[in-house]
């Protein structure tokens, strides 16, 4: 452990930074490795809760995440993003595959070891409204993880809370107020302060800006970037919108029906997308320029993501793909490399 809690705890951010930076220099391995990860939920029916089917919410996900090299994860609602996040944090027991965090295989870790590892991985949720207890003051919401995992008390505890409020750009005097007294953007900051309280290395941001005004989205993304720099954080940044994700991600993975269909460096993906699904997602982002909007080629996907309980045969995207061919129904396309770190799973990409 790089940073001790309790008696050795230091309140100066400066010392904390040094400790974290030193830790970072020592790690050359990926911070997080996800290998062949699957999360299948049983579908049950009847009084005896007999299993009648399987929801393949996550169906074979592979990626490595290097320290401070944020990965963006995009896909429509229902494609498995939240399930992947919760499985990585072991809030769900994976059906298959491995999760390796800082070199430790945590797929089957027992609860006590898992508990201490979890302090280093945190999650920020989409709707700050739902994730903050309305009856708790902002101070106690932020201190909850401290109470659970550290022995901080009294002045040290309140000092840490004030420090965290300050770090996310909220007035430290607000700690006695309740969540409803804050705007959506401010509530998201409270959620971020809480996630930072135990000095995590890795934060999964699950659509943290989807519920916010566009002008406030920029503030939150800037804050996350500042904190990353100060605290050497690494993010897995989840969104259904390729617009903002580009700013915060080094690499972007596109997910469809529980599988990654394309992954690559952010710039490469935005300028040279290969998968028809990635192209459709890109064309769905509104351009704030009527001239360019009128000229652009629009790919409008029809319908919703199919149910993962009954996925199409062959390529999962074929039922909505504008470039579908007969061969797409026959087999699931394999991931192939098509450039520097750029991989795609599509039968029609040579």
């Amino acid at each position: 452990m790089l940073v001790g809690y309790g008696k050795t705890f230091t309140t100066t951010k400066y010392k904390l930074d040094i400790a974290l930076r030193m830790g970072e220099l020592l790690t050359t391995k990926p911070l997080l490795q996800v290998q062949k990860l699957k999360q299948h939920f049983p579908v049950t029916a009847g009084l005896l809760r007999r299993q009648v089917g399987t929801i393949k919410a996550i169906d074979g996900i592979d990626f490595d995440l290097m320290t401070q090299q944020n990965l963006g994860l995009v896909g429509e609602s229902g494609c498995g993003k939240t399930t992947l996040a919760r499985t990585i944090l072991r809030l769900y027991q994976p059906t298959e595959g491995k999760i390796i965090f800082e070199g430790i295989d945590m797929t089957h870790l027992k609860s006590s070891r898992l508990r201490s590892l979890r302090t280093r991985m945190q999650m920020i949720f989409q709707d700050p409204q739902d994730s903050l207890n309305p009856r708790m003051t902002v101070g106690s919401i932020i201190a909850e993880p401290l109470d659970e995992h550290t022995s901080l008390k009294g002045k040290e505890r309140s000092g840490r809370v004030e420090e965290l409020l300050d770090a996310v750009g909220l007035n430290p005097r607000f700690s006695n107020r309740y969540p409803h007294e804050f705007s959506g953007g401010q509530r998201q900051r409270i959620g971020i302060a809480r996630a930072l309280s135990l000095n995590p290395k890795f934060i999964i941001c699950d659509e943290p800006i989807a519920a916010l005004d566009v002008s406030i989205q920029a503030q939150v993304v800037n804050l996350l970037e500042d904190l990353q720099e100060k605290l050497a954080l690494t993010y897995l940044f989840i969104s259904h919108d390729l617009g903002m994700i580009r700013h915060i991600s080094k690499r972007v993975a596109v997910m469809y029906l529980g599988k990654i269909v394309e992954v690559g460096p952010a710039n490469e993906l935005y300028t040279n997308a290969q998968h028809p699904y990635t192209k459709a997602l890109l064309s769905a982002v509104p351009l704030h320029d009527p001239g360019r909007e009128a000229k652009r080629e629009r790919i409008i996907l029809s319908g919703d993501v199919p149910s993962p309980a009954n996925p199409p045969t062959g390529c999962p995207f074929r039922t909505r793909c504008p470039a579908v061919e007969p061969k797409c129904a026959i087999s699931v396309p394999k991931m192939k490399a098509i450039g520097q770190e750029h991989r795609v799973a599509c039968h029609c990409v040579m």
Binding site: S215, A218, N222, L287, D304
Partner: protein, 340 residues
């Protein structure tokens, strides 16, 4: 398409003032908003959360909770009738037939315990005097029009059996069912995925060409109305601060607030390494009537006049109005006609 003739004005709103009486005092939510919408035109209304977009729309048709809400001034002439002076009973008839509504949350207009078919067919029988079978045929047509697959087999389904995007389509079908002359859409795509949003925007683009009604489209996202609206008006703190043809507003914004809003949008094509622009600070709490420009505390161009005089919306170029003392193009205070 918009024209300058006054003959085809569908709705003419003049000086709407709406307040809320709360324990903290009077919230001045809408402070004298005036606008026209013409037949076949799509008017975009944009601004951050809390700037008064919804309260303005709700005031027009009294969907406001009253009390605490109170419309203290203004008129809204629709079909020769002032909606503000119309009784709630008469308004209910107009709302179901002449003016259609779409909201962010479809469940505010869909009844969870009634089938979609019932909710579509009943108003058609009531407002259009259609027979049961004619209403049913029309309901299926409407669901097909908004892109619900296998429409005829879905009439018996309840709202929860539709996904978020499909529910939004059902609501559009309901809003369109009685051939409204005016459709008011209040952030109908804000809670949806970008792909679903793109589907709905595409649908609206084709519907407006087909049906030719007037549409007011409310959103906090300037990106959404860029290729949808004919004209856009930008609201701040219950005032209209800028109004222009869509291309002018995006290429030559004249209010620092519009300019700042445009800069907060991430660029899909440009350089990604620069920091995102954001508008620091918060909109005012609106507990006092303002005597200064409401945007002044957050405005990088503000000078002394802005802090003691609230600028009025003024025509400064063809089809372009702005309420600002600063001329962003000349980098100097705007010579004001009204003050001479």
């Amino acid at each position: 398409m918009p024209t300058n003739s006054n003959a085809n004005i569908v709705l003419s709103v003049k000086n709407i003032v709406t307040q809320f009486n709360t324990v903290d005092g009077k919230v001045h939510a809408v402070n004298g908003v005036s606008f026209d919408v013409r037949q076949g035109e799509l008017l975009g209304v944009v601004g951050e959360s809390g700037c008064g977009k919804s309260v303005t729309m709700m005031s027009l048709v009294k969907l406001l909770p009253m009390p605490p809400g109170e419309i203290s001034e203004g008129s809204a002439i629709f079909e020769g009738q002032d909606l503000i002076q119309t009784s709630i009973n008469d308004l209910q008839k107009i709302r179901g037939s002449e003016i259609g509504f779409i909201f962010q949350d479809p469940m505010t207009s869909l009844n969870p315990v009634l089938t979609i078919g019932y909710q579509l067919i009943e108003p058609l029988r009531l407002h259009k005097n259609l027979s049961k079978s004619a209403a049913r045929t029309r309901a299926i047509e409407l669901l097909e029009l908004v892109g619900i697959p296998m429409a005829s087999s879905r009439l018996g389904d309840y709202p929860h059996q539709f996904s978020g995007g499909m529910r939004q389509r059902v609501m559009i079908a309901m809003a369109l069912s009685c051939d409204p002359k005016l459709l008011i859409a209040d952030e109908p795509t804000t809670a949806l995925d970008v792909t679903m949003q793109a589907q709905i925007l595409d649908l609206v683009r084709s519907l407006r060409n087909e049906l030719g009604m007037a549409i007011i489209w409310v959103t906090h996202d300037l990106g959404v109305v860029a290729n949808l609206a004919d004209r856009v008006m930008v609201m701040y703190s219950g005032f209209i601060v800028e109004r222009a043809d869509v291309t002018k507003l995006y290429s030559k914004p004249k209010h620092p607030y519009t300019y700042a809003l445009l800069k907060t949008l991430p660029d899909m094509e440009g350089d990604r390494s620069h920091r995102l622009e954001s508008i620091e600070g918060q909109p005012p709490d609106q507990l006092k009537p303002t005597t200064s420009c409401p945007f002044a505390p957050r405005c990088e161009y503000a000078f002394d006049r802005c802090t003691h005089e609230n600028p009025q919306l003024e025509l400064i170029a063809e089809n372009h109005e702005v309420a600002c003392w600063w001329d962003m193009e000349r980098h100097s205070p705007r010579p004001s006609t009204s003050s001479i």
